[in-house]
Symmetry: C2
Subunit: 237 residues, 2 copies
DNA sequence: TTTCAACTCCCCCGATCCGGTGAGGGGTGC
DNA sequence: GCACCCCTCACCGGATCGGGGGAGTTGAAA
């Protein structure tokens, strides 16, 4: 089980098309000798892209049922930085347990280990290794391959970002410092009058920034603009 | 130069106080045999925290001069996912070249390699290795230690996040499904009328959800509520 | 030098949102 | 049985936002 991932990573780095990723992930699964390996990109618009070894029926069902919104792996990893064992997530809600049952019924193993990965503009992805075994075996596995998995996740996301079309046209429209300040103040609950006072400018000037930011962000209204700024990671609350 | 970083990483994982990070980073620098190693957390509100081996005079100057805003390493890495060699950044602006001259004059080496790292809530940090040598030597070094550096950056950020005060204290009262839907629709730019139509309910009902969500999230207004929902990761846009 | 982006200020008015107060039915849990 | 929460619907007045004008300075890039 001494997975030799270095050559696979090198191959991954050479990959020139999206389809190659599927091949690579299958080789990695064999190398790690686990049931499933999945790379799952959660687009900030709710779209999803992924490749992995789950049953396609399950993947489709996951999408159709909107499991993205209730999957504890997603919500749990989204608030964490470190890789997380599925056992440590919150499965207490009824919806979560039903989801888990459904997953197990579609060939998903009982053990999981997911690594959250983040890229520019609020990109968020998961690299998950999944298996069926007892807790002790699983802990030994994750402990042993933790570093390798982090690296694999990193390399995988790097490739996925390269292949993603329509990346880096948007961020060209960076917000100006004042616009960022305006967005930030709105995001923490200030209304226009308060934000203007806080920046020591007239309310009208503030409005100019907001409108400008709205335009640059392609937003339909202020709330939308703040939401986009947040999910692209250009402001933080 | 065969850096044995594994034991240092293990030590890092055991670190129980912020001060330990400074010790660890110095050991890592010696292990890699480079001039400088820096971990630099960049809060978008302008605050900074970091530890590393740069001359404290330079660190203070960096902050005082507001170099954060013009440093090509920051702006360049912020839009990238993969580690980046300083030579590949855009140094064309006058301000950037002046900054570089100032840096070199304060003991910063001519070669640099920075790894962007991102955490939850838009957290952004840099792990940088810096040295003085010729291009060929540097390329060989980065090529050789790329994987190790990625891992070190990852572990370092993990620790920094653990020590960061005010992380994950939120009890996070859960929103009801309808409230989540309402927040999500608002976050993608719908106004109340559109969102209500989209959910096939009256606008008044929608308002009840929004108000309820606002209350649960402790938000001052709708924009604030959406911002909180986003940054807590309970909705995804 | 000229252009251009960022920053600052002003008025008006219709559209939209907020806050308060109200009511009723359905489900879950003690 | 009785809370308690979730879902649904309604009216109104005042606050806020959004879009439409126009105008001046500064500083950096081309």
């Amino acid at each position: 089980m001494a997975a030799q991932i270095a050559p696979i990573l090198d191959d991954l780095e050479q990959a020139s098309a999206l389809e190659h990723l599927q091949t690579v992930i299958e080789r990695l699964r064999d190398s790690f000798a686990v049931d499933h390996l999945v790379y799952h990109w959660v687009n900030s618009s709710g779209e999803q892209y992924g490749c992995g070894t789950y049953d396609p029926v399950w993947v489709q069902r996951y999408i159709d049922q909107g499991y993205l919104r209730i999957d504890p792996v997603i919500s749990g990893c989204f608030q964490r930085f470190h890789p997380v064992d599925w056992k440590r997530l919150d499965w207490s809600s009824k919806a979560a347990r039903a989801f888990l049952q459904d997953a197990l019924g579609h060939g998903v193993g009982n053990q999981g280990f997911s690594i959250p990965i983040r890229g520019p503009n609020g990109q968020f992805a998961l690299f998950t290794v999944n298996h069926s075994c007892d807790d002790a075996t699983w802990e030994a596995f994750t402990e042993r391959h933790r570093k390798d998995l982090i690296l694999v996740a990193h390399y995988f996301n790097q490739k996925a970002l390269e292949f993603e079309p329509g990346r880096t046209p948007e961020p060209a429209q960076a917000l100006s410092p004042r616009e960022l300040e305006a967005m930030t103040l709105l995001a923490v609950g200030y209304n226009r009058a308060q934000a203007a006072q806080s920046l020591d400018i007239s309310e009208h000037t503030l409005r100019v920034y907001i409108e400008s930011a709205r335009f640059k962000l392609g937003a339909l209204n202020t709330t939308h603009a703040v939401a986009r700024a947040l999910s692209r990671g250009i402001i933080v609350v």
